[in-house]
Symmetry: C3
Subunit: 101 residues, 3 copies
């Protein structure tokens, strides 16, 4: 099993940002990131300290959204830098991992 | 791009635990964790070996829930210790990452 | 607080694969993995470059699914190898973490 070093990036958004589609399209079209996945949280709070939850299902439009993608480490660091320049991204973290091919 | 070392914690719960709101409130109020996100899985099994799934959508109330937060490494380890003292938390994992500011 | 080294695995699928239940059952029955969680993304794209999203809620059946589990590092690497032999798994990544008991 061949293994390659990669870096996983996670970008924190909220549904109220309305930035998800633009960021996905940007990763795909402008950065040639070969895969990305967005997850919606069921509850969360962020820098504002405000709780975001879905207790009123379908009435809450400000749930946390996290976008994750991975690639060669230096490329991921460059893409994170670009995302911060082009979008209103508050929190971004990343960590090293291995891809198994 | 300034980068800081952080530790990401992940706490495993299930919906049937009914502990999610208390834990989120605890992280926010008692531990000054600046952000936390809860995700609901669509299927899972844990220490009990019992499968939790959502095949009967809206009828299943025991889906897996994971809570994630990150902060300075030693602080996260202390918070995990406190969570284990105050709540019925079975599984907790953590790993090192970097925050990009 | 006792801490053990573990490796977290993440396997990328899509709903259209219809492999989720078989993989969960396989991890539980054949590999003795003590816990696994599956998450459904709200949007994503993969090797095909095709966007998968849920903009037509309940009409989209090709959303991204990620399965995560953790165990002792060598065991996880062996299970990933087996999953690639038995299932049509495109992308698999893993990273080191710590379990807090």
């Amino acid at each position: 099993m061949k293994t390659e070093a990669v870096r996983i990036a996670r970008v924190y958004l909220t549904e109220a940002d309305h930035q998800l589609n633009d960021i996905m399209q940007y990763l795909h079209d402008n950065e040639s990131i070969s895969g990305a996945t967005a997850y919606r949280g069921v509850e969360g709070y962020g820098l504002s300290g405000k709780m975001h939850d879905s207790s009123l299902i379908d009435l809450s439009f400000d749930l946390p959204i996290t976008v994750e993608f991975f690639d060669e480490s230096n490329n991921v660091l460059m893409v994170i830098k670009h995302l911060k320049e082009h979008f209103n991204v508050s929190q971004t973290i990343s960590w090293l991992a291995e891809q198994h091919q």
